[in-house]
Symmetry: C2
Subunit: 268 residues, 2 copies
């Protein structure tokens, strides 16, 4: 007879309660806000993080968990007390900050449902800066979504970081006016990063990625319908080289993850 489900959980992220299963997200590092950690490395957490440490990771007094401070160093913590409501951690943060991602993304604002879905994967894959802008094929009312408010997207970014084991929160900016952004603001936002734009094309073309090793990159991703000719011309005139994954139309969240995978792989 197999062991009861409740004894086979833990790292596998599944809690049996009264015969039903709750599938939770994966946390490979518990993130703490700087103000939660005192000078001796102690932190008291509650809410979903306490429940997660206690119920899903089966954290008990004496055991260790990976921890990190948001935008700060990584480390390990010993659990001093654990209940589903309150966990006391004693951490040593001696593993340094993770290296900064070398890719930034300039993104035509996707529809709200897709934007919601995109925050965690962007943090998971690792981007330094996320700049959201308007484009001809972006509905103006997309900018009204609450998924553009830090109090709504920050928890999703943290979720992605916890899954990836990272601590570096991407910087997020909304620069709604596309033309001034491209003409005047790129240098300040992305410094001397190599400029690459993605656009659906008949044949996959990644030639512009050659020679990116060791450089920073900013990747411009358009709406699902693509950039317009005017937008493409403006981006090209400001140094963006076009790449394409082929003629398939990908949902923006899928396109971003596939493109970031390719760009990061090219950068080595």
């Amino acid at each position: 007879m197999p062991p009861p489900a409740s004894s086979r959980v833990g790292a596998h992220n599944c809690i049996a309660r009264g015969g039903r299963f709750w599938y939770q997200r994966d946390v490979n590092r518990v993130l703490l806000e700087p103000e939660e950690v005192d000078a001796s490395g102690m932190a008291v957490i509650g809410g979903r993080r306490a429940a997660h440490v206690h119920d899903t990771l089966h954290g008990r007094a004496g055991r260790a968990v990976k921890v990190g401070i948001v935008d700060g160093p990584r480390g390990r913590a010993t659990i001093r007390e654990a209940s589903a409501e309150r966990v006391v951690l004693c951490g040593t943060f001696d593993e340094g900050r993770p290296p900064a991602p070398r890719v930034d993304i300039l993104l035509a604002l996707p529809r709200p449902k897709v934007l919601h879905r995109l925050w965690a994967p962007l943090a998971m894959v690792g981007v330094g800066r996320i700049v959201l802008t308007h484009a001809a094929k972006v509905e103006r009312n997309y900018f009204d979504t609450h998924w553009l408010l830090p109090e709504h997207y920050r928890p999703l970014l943290l979720e992605g970081l916890e899954q990836a084991g990272d601590t570096r929160l991407p910087a997020v900016e909304v620069r709604r006016r596309f033309k001034p952004l491209v003409e005047d603001e790129l240098g300040a936002l992305f410094s001397d990063a190599a400029r690459v734009l993605a656009h659906p094309g008949a044949a996959p073309d990644l030639a512009a990625l050659a020679g990116l090793a060791r450089r920073r990159v900013v990747l411009a991703v358009g709406p699902e319908g693509g950039w317009t000719d005017w937008e493409l011309d403006l981006l090209r005139a400001h140094g963006f080289a076009a790449i394409s994954l082929g003629e398939r139309r990908l949902r923006t969240d899928v396109a971003c993850v596939a493109l970031l995978g390719v760009v990061q792989a090219t950068m080595g």
Copy 2:
């Protein structure tokens, strides 16, 4: 004053109803089942497809839409009649079947929520065959999910194809026993495809992808916790070369899309 939201919808996928917005999925090609299309190319559709053609694409009599037959050719159709409940299409299917994807995926079954999220992106990015198997870090009860039943996952695969504009439905198989699968069944399932496995590693390593251009590839993706040493040894002994995107732990759906992007980009 901006025009009312309802006049700015259509291709942009957003329907205003009484001041609220329903964001729908993107359909770049309406897929028809073979038995829905008569000898003259006529098809009558209802349900969510009719509502989508009428409400979101603003399809009206006389206009054209891209169509395709599931696992068959692509083409264009003229709308003969359109209401939110019933659309009559007259199609010409002369654009051939899209080329078959050259990548297959062998996937350790992810938790149900992630599996649910993965079906559409797999079809969107384009894979020929999806084989789901067990691994040490897969919970046995994951196999009880309804997301492994064709009546539940097929609509999600179709959704991915409609977004991508493809018609080729990936073949799906559940081969729960990992050892017999790797030892005896790979040749029949994947023919002479190059064998590549993904495993989180300290440093990104894609050397095994060199020389994949023009070949078929099967990509083996493990659980979020990675393959065990025993599983890795078995896969390596059967010709799988390891690649890594680095040490970040990615959710399985994010890992699959990033890896498929990289593999497809490498294949050219």
